[in-house]
């Protein structure tokens, strides 16, 4: 998506929707986005409510649903929900930890044409992954991956949230993914949800961010579906988003039907409505938090030479680290280079 006037105009509906279908999970990952967020004790949408939302997404021509959780497959009626979305022609992507996949389940998933699966794995090796996702999780996740590959499920990727613990293992993860015929996808670690409490322990250093930027620039086949655009090298400018899509292209629904501009912005001030009480269309068009996000300008970034690559970066990272949405992404490459230049007056900032 390029920065053009129509991407700044109000779309009739989201292009895709992130839907945390359940908060139930059988792992306790240290950086979990969904930990400690949402309304405590809130009831999850039942099947009829989920089907009603899918009907509305179909009417609005939302192209894609990204299901996450919690662990979606722990929800007993999740396959029925998935199949219902598929029956509407909506592309579905499921983010799973892979531990509950079995042969029968994979066979049913194989029959779904427009289904993509991301299996979360936070290290190429057991020790690293288990430090983040819990003891014994690597072997269980790998069993799920092996099942997908051996049963011939072709449309899946291994997804790693990049932290300082697993940063060095990205090439190994990529090799592992290729061995299974899978893609590699990297997610940005953000200080939201459970990530707030471990940010200082797990976030990348400046040098690591620079190295990651160079690595991504030379590996266009590695997918980065979310807000890595703050550190994107120019080599990747034609790939994916170059600006925050929250409330412009996408939004997020939590297990109880609460709607937020983005899965990473689930604080109370971003609560835009609830699909059990309002239509998604009215929330999309009229809610205060969505209007606020669409009007967001990070003016201090607008004169930056990298502005066309990132438009100020991820507002969620800025919000949780600085308390302001209008602050430049604190992990922005340009900011780093300027800081480094200030610390070392002899060095020059490179484009």
């Amino acid at each position: 998506m390029k920065s053009t006037s129509w991407t700044r105009s109000l779309l009739n509906a989201p292009v895709n929707l992130t839907w945390e279908i359940t908060s139930a999970c059988n792992l306790s990952c240290r950086h979990c986005l969904s930990a400690k967020v949402g309304v405590s004790g809130a009831r999850e949408l039942d099947f009829a409510q989920c089907a009603g939302l899918i009907d509305e997404l179909d009417r609005l021509r939302v192209f894609q649903i990204n299901f996450g959780g919690g662990e979606p497959f722990l929800r007993e009626d999740f396959l029925a929900i998935l199949e219902y979305a598929q029956s509407k022609g909506i592309v579905t992507c499921v983010s799973t930890n892979g531990t509950v996949l079995d042969r029968g389940l994979v066979e049913r998933l194989k029959r779904m044409d427009r289904l993509y699966i991301q299996v979360s794995l936070d290290g190429a090796g057991e020790e690293t992954n288990d430090r983040i996702r819990g003891e014994g999780s690597y072997r269980r996740i790998l069993a799920g991956i092996e099942l997908l590959a051996s049963r011939g499920f072709a449309r899946f990727s291994l997804n790693m949230v990049v932290t300082r613990l697993n940063f060095r293992e990205i090439p190994l993860l990529d090799r592992l993914a290729k061995e299974f015929g899978a893609g590699t996808r990297l997610s940005r670690f953000r200080p939201a949800g459970g990530g707030k409490g471990v940010w200082d322990q797990l976030s990348l250093s400046r040098d690591q961010l620079q190295e990651l930027s160079l690595f991504l620039g030379s590996h266009p086949d590695i997918l980065t579906a979310d807000s890595f655009f703050a550190i994107a090298a120019r080599d990747r400018r034609s790939l994916g988003l170059n600006m925050c899509g929250a409330a412009r292209m996408t939004c997020s629904v939590s297990p109880d039907g609460s709607v937020y501009p983005c899965a990473f912005l689930q604080d109370d001030i971003f609560l835009a409505g609830n699909v059990t009480r309002q239509s998604l269309a009215s929330i999309w068009r009229e809610s205060g938090p969505f209007r606020m996000m669409r009007g967001l300008r990070i003016q201090s970034c607008e004169s930056c030479h990298r502005f066309d690559l990132c438009h100020g970066g991820c507002p969620a990272v800025a919000y949780f680290l600085t308390g302001s949405l209008r602050h430049p992404d604190p992990e922005c490459m340009a900011t780093f280079r300027q800081s480094l230049a200030a610390e070392n007056p002899g060095t020059r900032e490179s484009a």
């Binding site: 998506m1 129509w6 105009s9 009739n12």
Partner: protein, 76 residues
């Protein structure tokens, strides 16, 4: 490929790679009616000038791979 109407024109979504294509054409909106479920070419019947304009736009979309011609299989 899926598509929907937007205020600026049409928004195409590639179901294979999630790539979006924004086609800025209000003219096409007027002619297309419903781009997914409707018949785009039926608009040609309105008048020759409109049909020629529609053909140019549709050709452009076809060259971009956003739409493809379907062979006519039924009786006329």
């Amino acid at each position: 490929m899926r598509a929907r109407k937007e205020s600026f024109g049409l928004l195409f979504y590639n179901t294979e790679n999630a790539r979006l294509t924004f086609v800025r054409s209000r003219e096409l909106l007027l002619l297309a009616g419903d781009p997914v479920h409707g018949s785009i070419l039926s608009a040609q019947a309105r008048c020759q000038a409109e049909a020629a304009r529609a053909r140019r736009i549709l050709d452009a979309l076809r060259k971009k791979g956003l739409i493809r011609e379907r062979p006519c299989t039924g009786a006329q």
